[in-house]
Amino acid sequence: MHIVIIGSGVAGVSFAEKYRALSADDDITLVTREHDGYYSRPLLSRGFSKADIEQTIILKPFNKLRENNIKVLCDAEVTAINRADKSIVILGGQALQYDKLILAQGSSAFIPPPFRLYEKLFFCLNSLSDLKALRRFRQGFLDQNQRPDWAIVGGGLIGCEVASDLAVAGDKVTVFHAMDRLMERQLAPEDSILLLKVLQNSGVNVLLNQAVQAFSREKDKICVKTEATAGFDGLIVACGFKPRNELAELAGLETGRGIKVNQQMQTSDTSIYALGDVAELPNGKLYAFILPIRNQAIWLAEFLAGQQQGFWTPPVFTTKAKVHGFEAVHPYNV
């Protein structure tokens, strides 16, 4: 049997390793557009306060997987799934047959429609290549003994984490948040206030109830337009994530917010499964955190190896904002 996996995040890699451990004979091929290896996405939010992050963020070089008899095709963008002949197409033309296909393409940054016009003006922090681009941009200022002045649009989990890390690294940061409190989806109101104080104490300027309308470039500044207009050196949009549904949609699989799966992680095609940020369970939920994703991936590997029956049920898990100096008092809402 040939199992093909698309994506080398925690979902794809955990599945590949577990399946390999359970089945010595089947062929496993992991196809990914990544180049540098399997890296930790949570550590992206520590990408500025740590000098050696571009190395330490790599949890496993691809060769480590190859040593484990997992075939890895890297720098390989999958452009289509051909369900009729059970193959995928890789950019450049190569096709690859599968018996079972595991979709683990994860998520990209969600860009609210009004901002899509200005894609050239802002950064996101969703992948290692985003982090590298941000670090290069920032280094340009440091090389001239300057500190960039940042605007971050979005006061959710990632916006707050990045704001905190840039401030701790010594930069000037302003956060624009649409709601009247930070991380309103995950935190109790009391904790939002605590978080606000922690960020303010580390020098972050937090602006709440902000209706950001547009961006523009004025000379060497990027302007954020609300009721007023303010200029910054760099702009980061952190407004949530969006499952990468495109391949599944093109192939006619059922999708909603994510790729729809049943409680055995199977899509509407019985040879195709989905895991991680891209998978939407029958209860309408996406489990976009490391712990439940690893749990899903291991469950599916066991299931396909014949060592698991029944349904995947989510484990108990929580999260934690990686804001320097912040500890929530109440449990997070996940």
Binding site: Y39, P42, L43, R46, I57, I290, T318
Partner: protein
Amino acid sequence: MSDYKKYQCGVCGHIYDEAEGDPDSGLAPGTLWKDIPDDWRCPECGVEKSEYALMA
């Protein structure tokens, strides 16, 4: 010995059990938390030892 302790990574939920160690990163079963070098990192998300908390 039954007084081995468990520590949990606050970022990804990984559990370090002193009884089991973490052979993949060179920590033999029975390696106590205090004996793990400071540059050891969570095998699942890469954060530092300081992000772990003792489990009740």
